[in-house]
Symmetry: C2
Subunit: 478 residues, 2 copies
Amino acid sequence: MPYFDAASSLPPHPVARQALLAALDEGWADPARLHREGRRARLLLDAAREAAAEAVGCRPDELSFTSSGTRALYTGIAGALAGRRRVGRRLVVSAVEHSAVLHAARAHEANGGAVEEVPVDRAGRVGVDDFRAALREDTALACLQSANHEVGTEQPVAEAAEVCAEAGVPLLVDAAQSLGWERPADGWSLLAASAHKWGGPGGVGLLAVRKGVRFAPPPPVDERESGRSPGFADLPAIVAAAASLRAVREEADAEAARLRALVDRVRARVPELVPDVEVVGDPVRRLPHLVTFSCLYVDGEALLHALDRAGFSVSSGSSCTSDTLAPSHVLRAMGVLSEGNIRVSLPPGTAEEDVDAFLSVLPDAVRRVRAHLDAPDAPEVPRESGAEPGAADLGPEPERGRAEDAGAPSLTVDSRGKLCPIPVIELAKVIDRVPVGGTVVLLADDEAARLDVPAWCEMRGHEYLGSEGHTYRVRRRA
Amino acid sequence: MPYFDAASSLPPHPVARQALLAALDEGWADPARLHREGRRARLLLDAAREAAAEAVGCRPDELSFTSSGTRALYTGIAGALAGRRRVGRRLVVSAVEHSAVLHAARAHEANGGAVEEVPVDRAGRVGVDDFRAALREDTALACLQSANHEVGTEQPVAEAAEVCAEAGVPLLVDAAQSLGWERPADGWSLLAASAHKWGGPGGVGLLAVRKGVRFAPPPPVDERESGRSPGFADLPAIVAAAASLRAVREEADAEAARLRALVDRVRARVPELVPDVEVVGDPVRRLPHLVTFSCLYVDGEALLHALDRAGFSVSSGSSCTSDTLAPSHVLRAMGVLSEGNIRVSLPPGTAEEDVDAFLSVLPDAVRRVRAHLDAPDAPEVPRESGAEPGAADLGPEPERGRAEDAGAPSLTVDSRGKLCPIPVIELAKVIDRVPVGGTVVLLADDEAARLDVPAWCEMRGHEYLGSEGHTYRVRRRA
């Protein structure tokens, strides 16, 4: 049963499992104690720290183990902001950082700080000039991920580190997605990562803070991990994390090349096999194992379940699969389609046949979801859907008076109260009912429409005229 | 090799080990994901939560897993204080809480809040009347441990819960030391504990918050664990924690009775075997497995190493074994001797012979440390120690002018720059050089002297006249 959600969490690497078992007998005592059990635990902890520091590319005394990658990011951001409070309270982040970074940024704002989000292009990549422009005299910290967790795009970390150095601003690099693949580019001041992303156990993060970086760890502080991670840690898990990081790195280059080819195959074949698909993220400067695409007229959660039934575990950034009912902030920042979004992230060792099997089941899974939703291109004869436009469904036509539409035919579809992807499906169904140059007014209160209506226009070659509140206006162009 | 430091951390219970191994295969995926690996992980997490809630005595949806007991305390305290900010910003804690509670209290003070410490008696027990008196209209939260981690004294939690209920103040109970032994007394509003104290893995804490308690988790918050514990957790460790809690509880009553008898033996025999020992903590209302004593004229770290060489792992609250060079805040709050402090905490399954073996090596270990320090009652002929009083060592005698000493002979010993237990040893060596009624003035800048000079006076029947800065005055009474 192929598991294609490596970017979320990996099963433990065999070396992680062995190291965990080996450390259970000696790694349970408090490494701060002076007795022999404590000293043995301390030896294990020191060895794990040295191995992890070697993989990160820092000194052992610059590296602390935290209780998760999320906690490493929180502590790193809060500590660097507090350490440079006198410089200013401005935090720069890219718009596509992990939610942990954005949560920390929200907390900083709630606490009176300022946050500036650097935009990304349609491939999800930060522009170095944009990054430079965001740095000001009062910028206390800048954050940039090594590669995006949802679309795989690599960020220009080395270049960002250069502009940060010029501006005298420390750079925190979130290396969660890439640390298992390679040693991070030089130039960072702080670095965070998470062991379960490389095949280590859950509950282990890394936070590295370069000597000389002003850092005041957020309270409360105890004597553990240089004051940067309070509480008694799971030492066998830390040992397993360090051992597995070393092990996956040994296999990383060969495995990256193999998975890169498989991902290239997915990137090429999916648009051939499935109509109306947008493959997102940078095609070249990307993580080796990850590919994301969005399918027009598809409910992401339904597609995820259909693939799950077919034996494939993937994830989705569509709004309907999240608690918040908002589409992924990454897709939003990129301005790409969010409906029917699927992320395929291949674990090391993924068999070629499993990828081919995925490609063989995907088209039918998409077709079924579209048929169920009565999507425009579905093979079945379209039934009347709830908001099929007709006299009874037509709302007021408020556009008549506007200059650019004067005289042009207009049609209104009311999709309020309906969730993604229904508003876009209803839009697609009526576009042919106005002549080329005519306008469709779509009323939709699902947050995903803000992303998916313009994305649909771009994919279909229609003109997106903009939105006001829950009213979207589209001009037929073909 | 007997390990007698159970209160610090226990080796994993066999059930913890089994559960950990069993959960490694199914517990690595993200329980928030919709695919089958995520759903399997979710089932494990739900089952662990139910088992832990049953042992705690709460509803599963009241219980969150955290990354340590320390983190559970931090989050519980910060969340309850924030939730009741409108009531007031006063936090009540006992003076002998775990350092994590006191660190959280310091952070609250640094943030503008007020903290009131409730004193304890010489046995380390909080008085219910003192606790009641500390609760005011603007008290947001009160914290009380179920039992003390250094001296084993049980606190009157049920009574404290009653007075808190009368005052309308939520009570947070730190059950870290007792949860493996018994279900906590009813009446708490929040409860924290730590798995490695009962034989579960490190890196797993519990935080229970009763429905209806106002609680605003400290930022940043994510969607995990009801917003109370951000970041991806170590699910196999959580499963192991819950399974082992259930297992140790099944054995708890029988094992508690057995260990209680062994501890009673230690409490009775140590003062018979070793001269000048103070056994501290409540002799009856105490944890079953823990006993603490302090040895006059002994360096705690040296004794700890001597016992370690003899094969016994214990811990110490003496100043010289800690980074801060300050004696344990617990011993300080109790007002008992801190020098030569040893905590013996027996793991479940401790053999009677091992306890007897400990009692047989202890006297000689103490004797050797005392001899090495040239203590007053050491068998060797006293050599001249650095500050042996004599003409050259005598400081000024500033006390001559004071009324109560007028005419009485006085002698000054300068022990400044010397660490515990040297100042008390030097005091003991000169007390016979003044007549009964005469005064010794001791100059000492080691923080431990503040505790140990009065404790020595009480043990030796001399009169402690008080201190001013680094000057201590003692009147010979016998």
